[in-house]
């Protein structure tokens, strides 16, 4: 197939753990964790993620006002360009175009944003991992049939990778109509080929290692080696990718919302939806867009920082 940065990046990640000298997954992770603890990027990333998760859990209870009540409706006159988008007493982030408290919506929206990110990442991870594991196992177990299965699966995966992800998500969402489920599925499906190719590559890299040969010469069946040794040892790159995918999932969900494919339910605020609603009033009330946007950027940054730091910790070449 064609070379591409996307696939090259995935393949590089897939080979990482195989390049490490340790064979047991636990000690590899312990060593990686030790390196992570001294990495500033990782600490900042983890801190951001921690704050975000706490906010997603307790936010809806801490929110001082309702997300839907049009309490200050009379103060916002959209037609006359009168907005209250800057902080004031009682409304820390000001009001939105319907006179609702933006700070409360922001807090409540954190949970939805996390939910969209996690669910769509999990869709990609689970389906992708199953496909990747099947392909990797077929290739490792070998035989003409195994090779063939692997080739066919990877052709399909590469074809999916060849499409720009956002546009693929848009087309899925356009067919399924406007809802939260749509966004999660659309963003998730796009991640499937990435996880599939990654896990398969990682399994193949593990398959050529000495411990596999050792286990084989002890008389252990190859099928058993695949399940009990190769597969568990191949998972670290998948975990790294899952962290990075959370960032892209949140950004792409926001883009889908912006294109009018997000959750239409006003009772469940979500940062992407808040941002897309705010764009119409951007010239008069820019802050209304800035709060959810900054939330999205910082959260995505947190996951990216931690993911990149994990990749570095696992990559022998990048170690100083």
């Amino acid at each position: 197939m064609t070379t591409s940065t996307k696939t090259a990046k995935i393949d590089r990640l897939a080979e990482l753990t195989a390049q490490n000298e340790t064979t047991s997954g636990a000690s590899l992770w312990r060593e990686a964790f030790r390196r992570l603890k001294t990495n500033k990027m990782a600490i900042i990333g983890a801190a951001i993620i921690a704050v975000f998760i706490v906010m997603a859990i307790v936010g809806p209870w801490l929110a001082p006002h309702s997300a839907t009540a049009l309490t200050w409706k009379s103060e916002v006159l959209v037609n006359q360009g009168k907005f209250v988008d800057s902080p004031r007493g009682g409304n820390w982030f000001g009001l939105d175009h319907l006179g609702r408290d933006t700070f409360s919506r922001f807090l409540i929206g954190a949970r939805q944003t996390l939910l969209v990110g996690v669910v769509s990442m999990l869709i990609g991870l689970i389906v992708g991992a199953v496909i990747g594991a099947a392909s990797g196992a077929a290739a490792t177990l070998g035989g003409r049939l195994g090779q063939k299965i692997d080739t066919v699966i990877m052709r399909v995966v590469d074809m999916m990778l060849a499409l720009p992800s956002l546009l693929l998500a848009v087309s899925i969402a356009a067919v399924m109509g406007q809802s939260l489920t749509t966004v999660m599925i659309a963003v998730g499906v796009v991640q499937i080929p990435i996880f599939a190719r990654l896990l398969r590559g990682s399994m193949l890299a593990q398959g050529s290692k000495d411990y596999v040969l050792a286990a084989q010469s002890l008389g252990i069946r190859k099928r058993r080696i695949v399940v009990t040794n190769i597969l568990p040892n191949s998972l670290s790159p998948v975990i790294v990718q899952a962290t990075l995918s959370l960032a892209t999932a949140i950004i792409e969900a926001a883009a889908l919302s912006y294109l009018g494919l997000g959750n239409p339910d006003p009772a469940v605020p979500e940062w992407g939806v808040m941002l897309s609603q705010a764009q119409r009033f951007f010239e008069h009330a820019p802050m209304m867009a800035v709060y959810p946007a900054v939330g999205i950027i910082i959260t995505a940054l947190g996951f990216t920082l931690l993911g990149e730091a994990m990749r570095e910790a696992l990559d022998p070449k990048l170690r100083g």
Binding site: M1, P164, L167, L259, A293, T304
Partner: protein
């Protein structure tokens, strides 16, 4: 070389066929089917049956698929439900704007990104390195449409330096030759039109450049760092070559190989960003058109668009592969 081209072209066939199957299935899964998409929700059953017969939807699936393939091969992507014009014509009308925007964005990304990545790697750990690495991380995390909104809000609406929408100001009378507004002005000697077009292009191009710029900076930096550590660089230095020669001929040239691949492929993915960027600046390219097609549930346009970008994407992949085999002789051997 010719054999390579032919082999690669043959490899495209299964990919495009697979895509067409996916798209065909997708079309058939549309809510209510194409008939109600055409007739609207208040169609009677007789109307639906008539349309289905007219469209050949009462035929077996494989016959329908064959027809679908034939139509695509003839570049017949159907008719837009919004404008009533053939989808292909709508695309070719708007495509130059998107091409112009993408090229401008790519020029910005390369001209800024490659030197920045190179300098960051040479002064590893310095302020420029830290700034460009963190800058590129933030660049990847900013939603493109938000960046567009911010730039437009500050530089067009508040400061009034750049026009806030469109490709040309009203009142500018430009002759269209290639469809690329900046180039047309130069060709016809209407330099005021070129200037106007450039002013319209700057903000959208900067917005669209943000992600490729971030990727190019990071890739150049990583690539230079890798090459600097190679044995042949040490050899070159120890045999007394001038620093300028080592840097230019040995480091930069080798480090740029993966970057060139990335640049080619990023051009394809610029299309995603273009949809978002164009719709903020109402730029009038394919991106803006798709935005309205999504709102209007204009399925023929959406399906046609996916087939269209898939073809472009696959073609760009092919060109990059070929370019790569020209630059790097090792690829040709395999």
């Amino acid at each position: 070389m010719l054999r390579l081209v032919i082999r690669r072209l043959l490899q495209l066939i299964p990919t495009l066929l697979g895509l067409s199957v996916l798209l065909f299935l997708w079309l058939n899964r549309l809510p209510g089917g194409p008939a109600s998409a055409i007739l609207g929700e208040r169609a009677t059953e007789a109307d639906v049956a008539r349309i289905n017969r007219a469209l050949g939807l009462d035929q077996p699936v494989y016959v329908q698929y064959w027809r679908f393939l034939k139509r695509i091969a003839e570049l017949d992507l159907g008719t837009s439900t919004q404008t009533g014009q053939p989808v292909w014509d709508e695309f070719t009308l708007r495509f130059p704007a998107t091409v112009e925007l993408s090229i401008a964005a790519m020029i910005i990304a390369v001209v800024v990104g490659v030197p920045l990545g190179y300098l960051a790697a040479r002064k590893r750990g310095g302020w420029l390195d830290v700034a460009s690495v963190s800058g590129s991380l933030v660049g990847i995390c900013i939603p493109v449409f938000f960046l567009a909104m911010i730039l437009r809000g500050i530089f067009s609406v508040e400061l009034g330096i750049f026009p806030s929408y469109g490709r040309l100001s009203t009142g500018i009378d430009a002759t269209s030759v290639t469809g690329l507004a900046t180039l047309d002005g130069i060709l016809t000697g209407e330099f005021d039109a070129t200037w106007d077009a450039i002013m319209h292009l700057i903000l959208p191009a900067i917005t669209l450049a943000s992600i490729p710029l971030a990727v190019i900076v990071r890739m150049t930096r990583a690539s230079v760092l890798e090459v600097v550590g190679e044995d042949y660089i040490r050899t070159a230095v120890s045999k007394g070559l001038e620093q300028k020669v080592v840097r230019g001929r040995h480091i930069l040239r080798n480090a740029l190989l993966p970057v060139i691949t990335a640049i080619g492929l990023l051009t394809g993915s610029l299309l995603s960003g273009a949809v978002l960027t164009e719709s903020v600046f109402t730029f009038g390219g394919i991106g803006s058109f798709i935005r309205t097609a999504i709102d209007a549930r204009d399925y023929p346009v959406l399906v046609g668009f996916i087939m269209f970008i898939a073809m472009i994407y696959v073609l760009i992949n092919l060109l990059v592969d070929l370019a790569y085999s020209l630059i790097d002789p090792r690829v040709r051997v395999h």
